[in-house]
Subunit: 165 residues, 2 copies
Amino acid sequence: MPERALPYRPHNHQACVSQALADARHICREHNARLTAIRERVLELIWQSHKPLGAYDILAQLGTEGHNAAPPTVYRALDFLLQYGLVHRISSLNAFTGCTHAGQKHQGVFLICRQCGNVLELESEPVARAIDTAAKTEDFRPDEITLEITGLCPRCRAGAETGTD
Amino acid sequence: MPERALPYRPHNHQACVSQALADARHICREHNARLTAIRERVLELIWQSHKPLGAYDILAQLGTEGHNAAPPTVYRALDFLLQYGLVHRISSLNAFTGCTHAGQKHQGVFLICRQCGNVLELESEPVARAIDTAAKTEDFRPDEITLEITGLCPRCRAGAETGTD
DNA sequence: CAACGTTTGCAACATTATAACAATTGTCGC
DNA sequence: GCGACAATTGTTATAATGTTGCAAACGTTG
Ligand SMILES: [Zn+2]
Ligand SMILES: [Zn+2]
Ligand SMILES: [Zn+2]
Ligand SMILES: [Zn+2]
């Protein structure tokens, strides 16, 4: 068994955050898109853990920071981050999580632990191929794929009460 | 190319409805569950087409029928129908669609046309296996799988403005 | 600086979903 | 049938999530 993925074990999460922010700055520069203060702060808040954050959670945190935030502020920042593939929306949770494959062409598969709430984003070529084949069988042309798997992460299965923040 | 699936071509949809209601009655009898008038009517409304229906759409239609309906009425009926696998919730649409595999153990894959709105529920063993393998690789135990594929159905690709109701 | 497009602030509103408690209905033993 | 009990439904209110529209502020470019 290879080493467990980051969300499932203690790790230097600050490194996750730094990497995400660096990627974001790079991607935005490449696209001539402005990673403004609010957008960057929202991304940073989303990355405060591997647990998806609701728009209103983000809003509440911004509220305690002097930013004069209303729902559109948050949703606009989220739209921007989604557009450039810096975050993903988890439909089954109405929440948002940082993309761990920013800048790479990828089709996210999300493993969502119902105990600790952490989410692991996978890339799976076999899954992508199987889905593509299934769609082709019906002559359907896929556009966007939402694949969210809820269950128990290894850490929670082992009995830990909560995962790493 | 085999014949297109029902939602993508004109078909005797009344047969879909009858089959769904018959299945529902059978499944409820088996489980000693009461398919009350409201529950049956909600199921029937959901089955009025292959396009998922929002809870408030259902509510509005009930409202025109003498039923004295409020949101909880609908959500409770939906909870019941979900519990017995008679309908599915489409997370990415916040809407509900009739299950076309009621009573069978299955893992739904939903093909959602962004043009006509029709949904086709597939069962795909290869997809299920690929997902299972991917989860196992991370030592994750799946519980519930949401797989929703948005795109263009064959009918809409061929230029028709709308699909069959 | 002036003009323009982008981003943000802000107020109101729309949509989706749930909580709490009372009233009604169905079921079962008597 | 009748009373007791559980399941279902009615009703009101409220929570949670997401959007519209317009005005002000900001950044860029000539
Ligand atoms: Zn981390
Ligand atoms: Zn967990
Ligand atoms: Zn049909
Ligand atoms: Zn279509």
